[in-house]
């Protein structure tokens, strides 16, 4: 990244200014990091208390889960469980203990698996990230190809493009997943039905999440693309004798993708919650499944830990969005 400023000011103070600038940048980075940590703790805290606010006693559900029942337990049966997991301490103590552990990289121990939450999540996070990031990338490719090829290409082609986007954007994940499964794993057995986390088994789950998202991204890109093509600079470019494809790719596209980039930060987080459906259909490991099970079993540390991870993904995604903005829009680099 270059700006004009240092060149202009260079004769006056050759070294001092870049130094001051880097201090400022460092301070800004530190501030960002601190606010990120604050957001993470807030997310974990809200989850922690929200979990406790739901009706249902944790010790009861641990016993019911161990024994496959739905009964009430006597206090003599509950007290050893309460003691073991520290439920008999005041809530504030439990909370402080939890947050204290957070700074030591300890997210607590799962009530049901008896394993540290970090290892519960650690084993499952990679397949989910592969799935969600893969889906985001594929959705972008679909959206861009459809937009570039169909905007302002005559009424029929434009209509096909926008109908395709409206249709895919409205599809429920489960439906897409089952149809893909039946068509591409059963009727035409190209892909495995239960593929685990292998590369080949990842294709259909990725498409399951990518197809509805591509319609969504395509719709916002299309609107912007359409508007940009009316801008004076496009006319200028055309007047310079630039070809239509070059105009679309080099000038219009840059402007048109900005809203979709903004959406991508949100989409990555939303995909993690949608991942559970793809994971269910294709018998794929991942954090979505773990989250559903943990919510069902009132496994507070696991739920809070996963929310923490999802919050972290949001933060990183938004950071990437900021960087992507700067890369796409030169106006932002100067400021």
């Amino acid at each position: 990244m270059t700006t004009l400023a240092p060149d202009v000011l260079a004769p006056v103070t050759p070294t001092a200014l870049p130094a001051r600038r880097s201090v400022r940048a460092a301070r800004r980075a530190a501030l960002k990091a601190a606010s990120a940590v604050a957001v993470l703790i807030a997310a974990a805290s809200v989850t922690f208390f929200a979990q406790l606010a739901i009706p249902g006693d944790r010790a009861t559900i641990i016993l019911n889960l161990q024994n496959g029942r739905e009964q009430k337990w006597s206090s003599s049966e509950l007290s050893p469980v309460n003691e073991k997991f520290g439920f008999d301490h005041p809530l504030l103590t439990q909370y402080l203990h939890y947050v204290g552990g957070f700074f030591k990289g300890d997210l607590g121990t799962s009530y049901t698996q008896y394993r540290p939450v970090t290892s519960v999540i650690g084993a499952q996070i990679l397949p989910t990230l592969v799935l969600t990031v893969g889906a985001l990338v594929v959705a972008w490719i679909f959206a861009l190809v459809v937009t570039v090829l169909t905007v302002r290409r005559g009424r029929a082609v434009t209509g096909i493009g926008s109908s395709f986007e409206a249709f895919t954007a409205s599809l429920p994940h489960y439906w897409v997943g089952v149809i893909l499964l039946v068509v591409f794993a059963v009727k035409i057995p190209i892909f495995p039905v239960i593929g685990g986390d292998g590369l080949w088994g990842t294709v259909l789950p990725v498409l399951t999440l990518a197809i509805p998202l591509s319609g969504f991204l395509g719709q916002v890109t299309r609107d912007e693309f359409d508007k940009v093509l009316d801008q004076p600079f496009i006319t200028t470019a055309r007047a310079r004798g630039m070809g239509d494809t070059a105009i679309r790719l080099r000038h219009a596209l840059r402007h048109a993708v900005l809203p979709a980039i903004t959406l991508s930060g949100w989409a990555l987080g939303a995909l993690i919650s949608g991942a559970v459906i793809a994971e269910n259909i294709y018998g794929r490991p991942g954090i979505g499944q773990v989250l559903v099970t943990a919510v069902n079993t009132r496994d507070v540390p696991t739920v809070a830990g996963i929310v923490l991870v999802v919050a972290a993904v949001y933060i990183v995604a938004n950071l990437l969005v900021d960087l992507a903005y700067a890369a796409v829009d030169p106006r932002l680099r100067a400021s």
């Binding site: 739901i54 009706p55 249902g56 006693d57 944790r58 009861t60 559900i61 016993l63 019911n64 889960l65 161990q66 024994n67 496959g68 029942r69 739905e70 009964q71 009430k72 337990w73 006597s74 050893p80 049901t112 698996q113 008896y114 394993r115 519960v120 084993a123 499952q124 089952v178 499964l181 039946v182 794993a185 059963v186 009727k187 057995p189 495995p192 039905v193 239960i194 593929g195 685990g196 986390d197 292998g198 590369l199 080949w200 088994g201 994971e279 269910n280 259909i281 294709y282 018998g283 794929r284 490991p285 991942g286 499944q289 773990v290 099970t293 919510v295 069902n296 079993t297 009132r298």
Partner: protein, 549 residues
């Protein structure tokens, strides 16, 4: 796996027709012929099994855990297909004349897979843990009323002492919950290790648990302790089982028809006919114990009145709804306390309360509930509202929920305003609906190979001896006495009469309302032979299974 397609051998044959998973229309029998007539046994191989629920641990008190722990743990005795109890780790046993002491003679030289000898002390230690710790709550509750102590007499003889004669004891310990674990492993390893890789003496050992995906079992090459009911002697034929968790029914069935799995659990009922025509080994096992039946809250609300409970039972065509909802695959069960596959089942009692809306109307009139303009009955200004809480997604599948909706419509016609309340596992198991003030009716099941389940479920719930399982809050002294007399009765014929009498009391009083049986629906690929499910709980047995060419 080297190839991205875990397709194997001849099973490609059936793959092309698998598109029927959504349509479930009839089809020509195509796959079945391919493997009929035996074929030659292939050495080794990996069985891929698609199951539904992933349990928190490999063993425990939930039926899902009994299924999976059976692969690694052996029991003292096992139940044969005719209901008799047969030797396993115990080659024989003696019951003392007073019925209070069971002395088991153990098979000699059996070792756990960690090398610890499986001797009398190990068995005694396990029983002591069942009773006194949280090792297995269902094992505990099954023997608790009469269990006293376990004693290792010498390395091959272990005595279990009871407080009263309890002939059902032998049948109850055939369940997977009573799998014997290595005491060394239990004492020296962490809870986490024992949860993930319990050490038994079984045909397989846990190799790896990929959470959210599968448990990989490896063959135990030194297996010596197969049950007397096994189909062959010696270690398992196959090298490995991949026990996969595939919650989605469409995928599970598709995995079998495309040859990517060899055995699937819970075949969707919509695919059952198709499965029967394609696969030569399909198993419909009706689980004994308490069927899926409604508990009616007899302590608070509208069902405190027996007439209203009876009207509720008469008021809807439960049989028709079950048959329609499950495509005729899952049987209706009119007996609310035990299912038709349970010993000493009262067939007569099951016939009570056949659909009779006139009778229902008459009983409600008699109880003083008057029909309003909108069709809902009221009494003293209060509407006849029934809050029906059900476990959505884990006790009731979407098919089961359809049955409830059909019933709701019919109950409406006789004047019940039934509110269906779907409850999540967190809510139901977390105790949100434990209190009598929170619901009027709730359906659930409890599997058991013995009518002694009556005591576990219907034992009175008192201050001194709470019984959270009695979800009807139904305290009946006479019932309690009859069940206890049945449990301790050493004359089998007399015990049977008493158990049937207990079922009659529950049915007459309409303390519960029957619905359908709990089942295991399994389909097996045609090139896998020798797979079976055991009798007590329908636990899948892979140690006798082998592939053919």
């Amino acid at each position: 796996m080297t190839s991205p397609f875990p397709l194997r051998r001849t099973r490609r044959v059936v793959a092309g027709f698998a598109g029927l998973v959504l349509l479930a229309s009839g089809l020509t029998a195509c796959g079945a012929a391919a493997a009929e007539g035996g074929g030659t046994r292939v050495k080794g191989g990996t069985i891929t099994y698609a199951h539904v629920q992933e349990p928190p641990c490999i063993f425990g008190g939930w039926i899902q855990q009994a299924y999976i722990s059976r692969q690694v743990l052996d029991g003292l005795v096992t139940e044969d297909q005719d209901g008799s109890v047969k030797p396993w780790l115990a080659t024989s046993w003696d019951v003392s004349p007073d019925g209070l002491t069971y002395t088991f003679t153990l098979k000699d030289g059996v070792k756990f897979t960690d090398g610890t000898p499986l001797d009398a002390a190990a068995v005694a230690y396990n029983f002591d843990q069942f009773e006194n710790t949280d090792l297995n709550g269902t094992a505990k509750v099954s023997m608790e009323p009469y269990y006293k102590s376990a004693e290792a007499i010498d390395p091959t003889h272990v005595a279990i002492h009871l407080t009263q004669p309890y002939p059902q004891f032998l049948t109850l310990i055939t369940q997977g919950y009573f799998g014997i674990e290595s005491p060394t492993a239990l004492k020296t390893r962490s809870k986490e290790e024992n949860c993930e890789k319990p050490i038994g003496s079984g045909a397989f050992t846990v190799e790896k648990w990929k959470k959210g995906q599968e448990v990989i079992f490896k063959r135990n090459p030194n297996y010596t302790s197969w049950p007397s009911t096994a189909k062959h002697e010696g270690p398992a034929y196959v090298d490995e089982i991949k026990w996969k968790f595939v919650p989605d029914g469409v995928s599970r069935y598709a995995s079998l028809t495309t040859g990517q799995s060899d055995v699937i659990y819970e075949v969707p009922t919509v695919n059952w006919k198709d499965a029967q025509s394609r696969f030569s080994n399909t198993i419909r096992y009706i689980t004994p114990g308490k069927p899926v039946s409604f508990y009616l809250n007899t302590k608070a609300g509208v069902f405190t009145d027996k007439l209203v409970r009876q009207a509720f039972a008469y008021g809807a065509d439960r049989k028709g709804a079950v048959e329609a909802g499950f495509h005729g695959v899952i049987p209706y069960e009119g007996n609310p306390s035990v299912s038709q596959s349970t010993p000493d089942y009262n067939e007569q009692a099951a016939k009570a309360y056949a659909y009779d809306p006139d009778k229902a109307n008459q009983l409600l009139d008699q109880a003083g509930w008057k029909k309003n303009a909108d069709g809902v009955r009221t009494k003293g200004g209060k509407p006849l509202t029934v809050k029906l809480v059900y476990g959505a997604g884990f006790i009731f599948t979407s098919e089961g929920a359809t049955v409830l909706q059909a019933l709701q419509e019919q109950w409406k016609k006789v004047g019940f305003d039934v509110k269906l309340v779907p409850a999540t596992m967190a809510e139901l198991w977390g105790g949100k609906y434990a209190d009598p003030s929170t619901f009027d009716a709730t359906p659930s099941y409890w599997t058991s190979p013995s009518p002694a389940i009556l005591w576990i479920v219907w034992r009175p719930n008192t201050e001194k001896a709470p019984n959270g399982n009695n979800r009807s809050f139904y305290n009946n002294d006479q019932l309690s006495k009859v069940i206890q007399a049945a449990n301790t009765q050493t004359d089998a014929a007399k015990a049977s009469t008493l158990y049937q009498q207990a079922q009659q009391i529950i049915q007459d009083d309409a303390a519960g309302v029957g619905l359908y049986t709990q089942n295991t629906l399994i389909a097996v690929a045609n090139d896998l032979k020798g797979f079976w499910v055991e009798k007590s709980q329908g636990e899948p047995i892979f140690s006798d299974a082998y592939f053919v060419k």
